[in-house]
């Protein structure tokens, strides 16, 4: 095994081009587990910690440019108002120690269906900026996940930045685990209201081979809210509407039975989370007009 220490982004791209089998390591929260447990012996480990711009972030008018190595703790502390769903999701990642090291870029690189940031990215809307010596690609996050622990990166590409839409309405994130902290998702759900476009987006994690959007549910709810004049009136969503949305979200799942939970339970739980997060976001939307909230109403210190 060789240890590569690129000092700049350009050096990293060159190294990745020269050694396509090199495994990038930033927080190490996935890669080092595989090395410690003898599940992976890459030819090269490439440390990305020295590359400053990967740890930087910038809030633009419409999007947040999040460097791929920005740790979850920064998202929680600094970006909760711009990216409330992602901040909630980040808060469910591992432990404080893991949140100090792990990053959204790493989550995307690992592409585990159980990665906590995926449902929040799907709900908010995000693009992955992948780069190689050959050039730069912008991939909608929906298209980035290609299979269980597989993503759309070419072998010479690295994730540079994740461009995430700034919240223009309430967002929520829920995750089911069988422990109250430090737990891998049995299943997870991200939900965002987009009052500007009068649409909603829903992301599901750990309930299919890849993270996915519940598009039929989004379309149904978006149409129902628009047709019913809910966006303007801000009136309460009838239970039947919420129930149908929840059922469509559950129906979007394609889960498996494993040691963490059964397929039937995952479907059930996604439905419950969909109904609840819709309720929380809509309550927040109503109570603040078209207000942006910080952490979506939950008191999460």
């Amino acid at each position: 095994m060789e240890f590569l220490r690129p000092a700049t982004w350009e050096e990293a791209l060159a190294a990745k081009a020269e050694h396509p089998s090199a495994v990038p390591i930033a927080g190490g929260t996935d890669v080092m587990v595989e090395i410690n447990f003898d599940q992976r012996r890459p030819t090269h480990l490439m440390d990305l910690n020295r590359i400053r711009e990967l740890r930087e972030w910038e809030v633009g008018d419409d999007t947040v440019r999040l460097g791929s190595s920005v740790p979850y703790s920064t998202v929680i502390d600094q970006l909760a108002s711009e990216l409330p769903g992602l901040a909630l999701a980040s808060h469910t990642v591992g432990s404080p120690q893991i949140r100090n090291r792990g990053s959204v870029g790493g989550n995307l690189g690992a592409a585990s269906p159980a990665g906590d940031s995926h449902p929040a990215l799907l709900a908010a809307g995000a693009e992955v900026e992948a780069e190689s010596v050959r050039g730069t690609r912008f991939l909608p996050v929906e298209d980035f996940y290609t299979g269980v622990k597989r993503n759309a990166l070419a072998e010479d590409e690295l994730i540079k930045t994740v461009h995430i839409k700034r919240a223009e309405g309430p967002q929520q994130f829920s995750k089911v685990g069988t422990r109250n902290a430090m737990v891998i998702a049995v299943c997870a759900f991200g939900f965002a209201l987009h009052p500007g476009s009068r649409t909603v987006r829903a992301g599901i994690g750990s309930a299919a081979p890849t993270p996915l959007r519940a598009r039929a549910a989004e379309d149904f709810l978006g149409a129902a809210l628009g047709d019913g004049g809910f966006w303007d009136s801000g009136r309460a969503i009838p239970p039947s509407l919420a129930r149908e949305f929840a059922e469509l979200c559950a129906g979007a799942c394609n889960p498996i039975d494993d040691v963490r939970g059964s397929a039937a339970y995952r479907r059930r739980a996604v439905g419950v989370m969909a109904r609840r997060t819709l309720g929380w976001t809509w309550e927040s939307y109503r109570s603040t007009g078209n207000g942006r909230t910080t952490e979506g109403g939950a008191q999460c210190a």
Partner: protein
């Protein structure tokens, strides 16, 4: 490969490091600092918690090469670290969290203790008067199998009270 970094204020160097070695392994097996513990090596238990450039991290998940040129504080250096923070001129003795863990009976087998101490010290540094919920959240990455955590809660409350009371930070 060779790695060089600072541990507890002292420069350490290790040669012939295999590239897959973790910071934890290098501390324990190459630098004579076995205080950080190897309980799970997958970031689930917090027993290997150290400060890396000030941040609490699981040293089992840091590749040794990633620590190159950086500052590491381990449980072995915690008392001196706390003293320096408090601006104390005293030498010797224990950090307030260390003394509080002893006094409260928060140590049984002690294998989780080094990681818990580093995490609890970082909490009190950041939040001198933590609520119970704050303590539980801050220590949720540190597993203990012996104590049921009750006396760990007592110890952190005690350390915070002693620190906050204007009592000398170093006892």
């Amino acid at each position: 490969m060779r790695v060089t970094f600072t541990v507890n204020g002292r420069r350490h160097e290790a040669d012939d490091v295999w590239e897959g070695e973790s910071l934890l392994y290098v501390l324990r097996e190459r630098m004579g600092l076995p205080g950080s513990k190897n309980a799970c090596e997958q970031g689930e238990c917090g027993s290997c918690t150290v400060r890396l450039d000030g941040e609490s991290v699981c040293s089992c998940l840091v590749a040794a090469g990633q620590a190159e040129g950086r500052e590491v504080v381990t449980v072995e250096g915690l008392a001196a670290y706390a003293k320096e923070r408090a601006g104390s001129a005293h030498t010797g003795g224990l950090a307030p969290v260390q003394q509080a863990f002893l006094d409260a009976g928060a140590v049984q087998c002690g294998f989780c203790t080094p990681g818990l101490l580093v995490a609890a010290d970082e909490l009190i540094e950041r939040n001198p008067q933590p609520s119970d919920a704050d303590i539980r959240e801050a220590l949720s990455g540190n597993l203990c199998r012996c104590t049921g955590y009750e006396k760990i809660m007592d110890a952190v409350r005690l350390a915070a009270a002693r620190t906050g009371d204007g009592a000398p930070e170093v006892v």
